[in-house]
Structure formats: C-alpha cells, structure tokens
C-alpha cells in the first residue's frame, strides 16, 4: 500500500511544478530563511518594476507597452543561459548536492489550464507571485483574491480525475 501511494504521488508530482528532486540532506528549518531572502528581493523587483500593476498587465495584453514583454523575455534569456551553464559545468548546490532537472510531460491541462489562467491573469492583473506582493504593498483586499485562488486550486484538486488531461 505504501509503495502504491508513493507511486501515485510521484505521478501527481511529475505533472506539476513541485520539486521532484528531493534532497537527502536534512537541514534545520531555519535554513529556509535563505529562500525567504530571495523572495524579499523578488518582492522588491515586483513593486519597483511595476510588474504587479494591473495597468501594466492591461497594457501588455493591449500591446500598448513593451515593458512586460521585456521583463519576461530578459528573465527567460538570463534563466536559460544560467541553466545551460549549470548543466554544462555540472554546478553543485552550496551543500555539494547535484542539481537535477526533470522533463515536463505534455498533457492537455497545459492547454485548458493555460487558457483558464490567462483569462484570470488579465482580470486580476496578477499571477500568483504578484498577488502576495500586492498584499504586501498595502492592498489588503487582495486577500480575497488569494483566498479565491486557493479555492480554485482546491476545486481543481477535488475534480482532477474528472477533467481531461
């Protein structure tokens, strides 16, 4: 039974962005603050480059501004070069572990879910990351949007088996 559960879990995970490369090392919980520090920088960039602005997202989808295309395009280029270097030089983590990559499997969810998310992105003017930065910027009502996004995720999990993938 335990084996079966593990297999199911892995299948679920392979469809997902969740980290499938689990570290064997056990760190104290406060080690996670290094990720919080990266998050702080990300949050500052979100606000200072106005990526969390509802108006910037509307301008993107109305082709009135290059700003968001520039941000995402540059991020992909920098990210791709970094990943290439990490793979080429077999760079290890600061704890000496190997850095691993998992290929994403195609499923129809990427089409249906992608379209649904796109619709929501243009309404709220925010993807999941910016929602948290918007909340931090003082727009407290965004807590409603986040709660609703959690509900959306939960409903997806509940009816996952009935949806085409």
């Amino acid at each position: 039974m335990k084996t079966k559960q593990e297999e199911t879990d892995f299948e679920v995970r392979s469809l997902d962005t969740m980290c499938v490369n689990e570290s064997e090392l056990v760190h104290p919980w406060w080690y996670n603050f290094k990720y919080a520090a990266v998050g702080v920088i990300f949050g500052i960039v979100f606000i200072k480059a106005e990526i969390i602005s509802w108006f910037r997202i509307q301008e993107m989808f109305k082709l009135q501004s290059f700003h968001m295309y520039g941000v995402i395009g540059t991020a992909v280029i920098v990210g791709a070069i970094s990943v290439f270097i990490i793979k080429k030089l077999k760079v290890k983590t600061i704890h000496g572990e190997e850095i691993t990559f998992t290929n994403k499997k195609f499923n129809k969810g990427q089409i249906y879910g992608g379209l649904i998310f796109g619709l929501g992105w243009a309404i709220t003017g925010a993807c999941p990351g910016p929602l948290f930065a918007q909340l931090g910027s003082g727009s407290l009502a965004i807590i409603v949007v986040i709660a609703s996004a959690l509900l959306g995720t939960w409903v997806y999990g509940k009816f996952r088996d009935q949806l085409p993938h």
């Binding site: 949050g43 960039v45 540059t74 994403k104 649904i116 999941p128």
Partner: protein, 187 residues
C-alpha cells in the same frame, strides 16, 4: 544612489534579476522556481480533505512558502521605504479606455476602484476579485504552473510543454482584456 532605486526600474534590470532567481534557487538547494505550487501546498496544509492531490508531505516543500513569505515582506519594504513619489505612468489610450468605465484613479499599482473591500459588494468587483482569483488558482494548477514555473523556469530549461502553456496563458489574456473584460468593466 537611493534616488536611482526609488525610480521605477526599467525592464532589463527587472528581467535580469528575475532571471537570476532561477540559478540562485538551484544553487541554494536544487529548488525549481515555481510559485503557484504554493497554493497547492497551502491547500494540503490547511484543507487536505482526503483528496489524493493534497495528500503529500507539504512540509518538504516549505521552502517555497518561505519564498512567498519573502515576496510579501519585499512588497512591504519597497512600498514603505523605496517608493517613488511620482504617479504611475499609464498609456494614454488605456487611460482613455478605462475612463469610459469610470476608472479614473491611476494613483496605485492596484486600481482601488476595482479591487477593494467596498467593491466586493458590487457585481463587477465580485466577478473580478472572486471570479478572477478562482480562475488563477484553478488554471495554474490545471496547467501545472504559472508564469514563474512555466514561462520562466520551464522555458529556461527548454521544456516545450511549458511553451505550450505560456502561449495559452497569452491567448487567454488577450481574449480577456480585449473581448471579455470590457463587458465586465461595464457592469
């Protein structure tokens, strides 16, 4: 120096820093950039309800919850200490379009005339805040990722399913902003 920081940052600066988050997370602990998974972890932590999709050890993914906690704090820091005194610049055509729907306050990054607790009691506000949020949460999980996991991390790793997802994000966004949103804003 501080004046340069408080100005709105150009796209190439923001894009470069966001791009560098990809190798930073990998080198810090073999973590893959992806934010929407947190919505799943929060469901798994708070309301697993015996649903197999939420039945996993979310604590192993707690690094990501720290990451979004950091984003929240970053939002507070830059609003409190690094904000620019100048109003946000809006494309004149967008300002004109929005003014038809009574949206004339462009002072914040989030339009208060659309996203506020008061608006929750209007049909338009309800659709945009509750409906929009639901689509974001449902769609990202259905697609297996959002802008960070697919468009940035996935494309950086040259994953073609991520390209499919990214193209669909954009199609959905174009449809909403140009064809559907005008009807919602008119409510």
């Amino acid at each position: 120096m501080i004046e340069t920081i408080t100005q709105p940052w150009p796209w190439y600066v923001a894009g470069t820093i966001i791009g560098l988050i990809v190798p930073t997370l990998l080198i810090l602990g073999n973590k893959h950039f992806g934010i929407s998974a947190n919505l799943r972890h929060l469901c798994a932590a708070c309301f697993p309800s015996n649903i197999p999709f939420f039945n996993y050890d979310w604590k192993k993914e707690s690094w990501n919850l720290f990451f979004i906690g950091g984003i929240l704090v970053g939002g507070i820091i830059s609003t409190q200490y690094l904000s620019s005194p100048d109003p946000v610049v809006i494309h004149p055509d967008l300002a004109k379009d929005l003014s038809q729907f009574g949206i004339t306050d462009f002072s914040g990054l989030v339009p208060v005339q659309l996203f506020s607790f008061d608006q929750l009691f209007t049909l338009r506000g309800l659709i945009m805040m509750v409906g929009g949020g639901f689509l974001v949460g449902f769609g990202t999980r259905y697609a297996g990722g959002c802008t960070s996991g697919h468009a940035i991390m996935g494309l950086s790793d040259l994953q073609w399913p991520s390209l499919v997802a990214t193209i669909c994000f954009m199609i959905g966004g174009f449809l909403m902003t140009n064809l559907i949103l005008p009807y919602i804003l008119a409510l």
